[in-house]
């Protein structure tokens, strides 16, 4: 078929020419609109949070770093080393090695306890399945979110670290906030 260049010509619509009031508006209009908000809030003062001196409060159900718990009355660990958290963990970051309680060394209330309980926080996705899986409410997701470290191996939290009170607690949001 013979080629007819006329068929492929497209017409382009051009914008208005630069300059004039319209030009000025186009150049600064949006900026001014933004500045309107700025100037409107000037009186309120700065609201920057001075992290790490100040911390953002979290919602109560925020899933932060895990915590292991003890019974308040006996001081025994709630964890019996059942390893269900490890089974539930989609990131495979929990390792539990159980051992048996003896009359001399009683660590938990059941027959067994977790001799080794490690969470590799560099792999954890904070999904909270471990908390859901735990039949004894021994592990819960805490509120801490400050977990950065200089060394990967330091991100493997051991049982003692998980049982201990965190140094700094992340503040909770108040009711209705």
């Amino acid at each position: 078929m013979p080629w007819n260049p006329g068929d492929d010509v497209i017409s382009v619509q051009r914008g208005p020419r630069p300059g004039g009031a319209g030009g000025a508006y186009r150049a600064f209009g949006e900026t001014l609109r933004g500045l309107k908000t700025t100037f409107a809030r000037v009186l309120e003062g700065p609201i920057t949070i001075q992290y790490p001196e100040e911390k953002v409060p979290v919602y109560p159900r925020f899933r932060g770093r895990h915590r292991l718990h003890r019974f308040e009355d006996t001081g025994l660990e709630k964890c019996v080393g059942c390893s269900l958290c490890a089974a539930a963990c989609p990131a495979d970051c929990i390792r539990v090695v159980a051992a048996e309680n003896t009359p001399e060394l009683r660590v938990s209330a059941g027959e067994r306890y977790a001799a080794v309980y490690e969470i590799n926080l560099s792999r954890c996705i904070f999904c909270g399945y471990c908390e859901v899986a735990c039949p004894f409410d021994a592990i819960t997701m805490g509120n801490d979110y400050e977990m950065s470290d200089y060394n990967r191996s330091d991100l493997i939290f051991t049982k003692e670290m998980l049982l201990a009170e965190p140094f700094d607690r992340a503040p909770l949001r108040a009711e209705g906030e």
Binding site: T74, L76, P103, E104, L105, R106, V107, A115, K159, E160
Partner: protein, 214 residues
């Protein structure tokens, strides 16, 4: 890893209501396994052996004589003692565990020491409708903690016609009124016949048709 030492007494343990001996028992790991006793190391009294062998002869398989053999053991030792069971096991060529399994199944075979005089008070429906429960408590109270007695409330003894009744050393007696209990217990203590005129052996048929004939 450091773990705070915790006083084990502070740990709550289950408070259970097991009343079956054995449920809470672990084995003694220092004992040897209980295999079929070797005749070379298990002395069996001759008369016991003869009695058990006589039972064995009645059946096509030796094992059948288990219950009769256990009865022999009980008769000889008062209850199925571990030694007695081992002796019977040796003659029967079975393990003592097998015999204890059978012995604990049957009510009349005792696997704990008991008194020599057995009084089974029937407390099943027919008898208890006629006051067997009171009879049982009365007999218990009368006997007290006399170690010579083995008083048990028993399931139906098959003598509801003389309810409330008891089997005293194998002799069926009834109906027993509560005020006869002291006499009965005394008779057993003395080794006398229990309530002779109330024994089943002397009872005549109550069927009016049958009675009219003889």
């Amino acid at each position: 890893m450091t773990i705070d030492p915790i006083d084990p007494r502070r740990v709550p343990r289950f408070d259970h209501g097991s009343r079956v001996p054995g449920w809470d028992e672990a084995v003694d790991l220092t004992k040897d396994p209980a295999e079929v006793p070797d005749p070379a190391t298990t002395p069996v009294p001759d008369d016991l052996r003869a009695a058990i062998e006589a039972h064995i002869a009645k059946y096509p398989e030796r094992r059948s004589a288990t219950v009769p053999a256990l009865r022999e053991v009980q008769e000889r030792y008062g209850w199925c003692t571990p030694e007695g069971i081992e002796q019977a096991a040796c003659v029967l060529r079975l393990t003592p565990a097998y015999l204890i399994s059978v012995a604990t199944f049957y009510d009349m075979l005792e696997t704990r020491p008991v008194g020599r005089n057995t009084i089974y008070v029937c407390t099943n429906i027919s008898c208890s409708l006629c006051g067997a429960d009171e009879l049982y408590t009365t007999v218990r109270d009368e006997v007290g903690d006399d170690p010579e007695f083995n008083v048990r409330s028993f399931e139906c003894l098959g003598a509801c016609d003389i309810a409330p009744m008891a089997s005293v050393n194998g002799t069926y007696v009834g109906p027993i009124s509560l005020d006869e209990v002291p006499t009965l217990v005394q008779q057993v203590r003395d080794g006398a016949e229990p309530l002779p005129d109330k024994q089943l052996a002397r009872r005549r048929s109550v069927d009016p048709n049958a009675a009219s004939r003889s």
